[in-house]
């Protein structure tokens, strides 16, 4: 029998190279990704009265709570913006990131029952999560836009500007960082469950190191540098600047470049690690 290597459509060996990523498989399974998106999105509000409205209620209640606690009681600066608008701008962006990170970091553990039965590119699951969260984001973003328009017409100090067209880029970087970190964590949690607990409050703590409840401009010196080391900072700040016009003094393209580079690195690391783990995770999970 001819043993021509090229003839085989698939060769499985115990040790694959680090960069054999099979990303083309992901493309082949794009329909599955979209179906996962639909599943994730639809199944959340099945059998609820308000349905997708919940996606809006959550940020608005959070923004009101923040307005009371951080705005009125703690008297934190809102860079001259109406409290509701300021917090909502932070929450809308932050929610997208934290949801991406939280949900993708559970990929292996939550889907163990499916992964243990059938092979399909495992990366479809976190990628689908990123996309379905995008729909959630759109709901919350339209809420933000409504509030923004209201203030735009009732006040004179709201100045939306051309930077708002950076939104797709901001989302891309955010999704990339969320996905990258998420899959790194999900790969590690197959062995070390501890990380699950860590991530739950880690994300919450990280929010306080991101200008969500305060503007970057209110921080000075070392504190500011520390904040800027957080790649999410520039994304939230740019978003806020583009739609409301505050914080322009602190904008530098370099900050966005930093976030972008950060994304590229975690994404590459994440995909490699994920790829490594997905082969044998059934034995360790």
């Amino acid at each position: 029998m001819e043993n021509n290597y090229e003839e085989w459509t698939l060769v499985v060996k115990p040790n694959t190279k680090w960069f054999e990523l099979h990303l083309s498989d992901l493309w082949r399974y794009r329909d599955l990704i979209m179906l996962f998106v639909k599943r994730d999105f639809v199944s959340v509000y099945k059998q609820t009265i308000l349905g997708p409205l919940w996606y809006i209620i959550q940020p608005i209640l959070t923004a009101i709570t923040y307005s009371i606690i951080f705005g009125s009681m703690a008297q934190l600066s809102t860079a001259g913006l109406p409290k509701l608008l300021f917090y909502l701008s932070g929450i809308t962006m932050w929610n997208y990131f934290s949801e991406c990170l939280n949900k993708t970091s559970n990929t292996f553990i939550q889907n163990a029952h499916i992964f243990g039965k059938v092979y399909f590119p495992r990366l479809t699951v976190p990628v689908a999560i990123i996309i379905s969260n995008l729909f959630t984001f759109l709901f919350q973003f339209s809420l933000f836009l409504t509030i923004l328009l209201f203030y735009y017409f009732t006040r004179t100090d709201i100045h939306p500007n051309k930077f708002m067209f950076l939104l797709p880029v901001l989302l891309l970087i955010m999704a990339g960082i969320g996905l990258g970190l998420g899959i790194i964590i999900s790969s590690l949690t197959t062995k070390y469950r501890d990380l699950r607990f860590l991530i739950a409050f880690g994300v919450q703590l990280l929010m306080f190191a991101t200008p969500v409840i305060y503007p970057l401009s209110s921080m000075l010196g070392k504190k500011k540098l520390l904040l800027l080391a957080n790649p999410i900072t520039s994304l939230v700040e740019t978003f806020r600047m583009g739609f409301t016009g505050v914080g322009g003094d602190d904008f530098k393209w370099g900050y966005l470049g930093y976030s972008f580079s950060f994304m590229v690195i975690v994404l590459i690391l994440g995909v490699i690690l994920f790829n490594k783990v997905e082969k044998s995770f059934m034995d360790t999970v």
Binding site: V11, V12, L32, I114, K117, D283
Partner: protein
Amino acid sequence: MKTVIRIENISKDYRLGEVGTGTISRDINAWLAKIRGKENPNLKINEKTKFFLSGEIHKALDNVSFDVQEGDVLGIIGKNGAGKSTMLKILSRVTTPTEGTFKVKGRIASLLEVGTGFHPELTGRDNIFLNGAILGMRKQEIKSKFDEILEFSGVEKFIDTPVKRYSSGMYVRLAFAVAAHLEPEILIIDEVLAVGDIAFQNKCMGKMSEVSKQGRTVLFVSHNMAAVQRLCKTGILLEDGKIKYSGETTKVIEEYFKSSFASRAVFDISLPENTQDMEGFAYRLQIEDLDGNPISTIPVGKKWQVRIYFRMNKRTSHFIIGIGISNTMDVNFRTTWSSPMEIEKGEYEVVFRDTNILMSAGEYKILIGLTSFQRSIQYAENIAVLRISEIDEINDERILRISGNGLVLNPMEMELIKK
């Protein structure tokens, strides 16, 4: 003939007990060493204490090699723990082998369990698409087969109802329907036939033989020997992670029964301590073929007999010995006893020979009783297990060998009258 699957020296090790070395730092050390191309420092420790650790690695598969030709329907059988599931997991790419390679030509799809990825909140329609996509179908492909799938499943009425409201039978039918319409070059199936009612099981079997007739390759893992025999041309018998026998299905199944149950054809009957006080007692029971060879599993249709060894301590009149056979549901299936007799003191054997009743496959319990003038001398339940296997030694198309067709498989006499 083209080879579509080639398995070369595949082994799969599982570490028993805790997974990982236990701490992150040791794992990182091991990992760094691996990157630098050195040996794992933790492994070295293990080498020294090899004796102590030798039991920690379980070889689920041990150097297994085989080829599968295009269009083959290969049955993989073996006892629990023989490595069947591990083999399937490797073939379906759920996990990778520790050593060895496997090569495939064409799309491979596995049905390790039907309904994988069904989401309870989604409707039957949505789940058809989702499940199909998980199994590797494109959306367009599913769309074009949608009607067929729906018809096969028989749940048309409920297609827009969330599957969490389905009965388990409907759920399984829908799931299998999706899987059955998958059209990969190589299909891996594990125990799907264990589900559904008889009609649906037959439907599945039909679909599977249809698949194989289309020239596609099927790997079939099952405990249902009748199904294996009916579907598969060739088979592999796994034992302790190694291939024990491979070849024609009938031979493989024969080997399987030989290795599995050889020991249990002779049953000792537990007795009270002081047997001297008893008028008489049976102490051993043997299930055997008509030549007197002990057999533990009787193929449907093979003649068998039960031999009971007993001792009489004194002369007894109006002595009757009988046996009863009941199934695992405690339904009394048959009772047979001797006619009353005068019996001398001594050692005896009695043989109860099967008549022409074809008992359906399964396990049966045997009880015995010894009486004199309707006074019990000895009565013992559950003393032996009689195993009837699905594998037939009879060639009669009218006899269905699937469990669930009733306790007795003998066909009734039938007469067709034309009017």
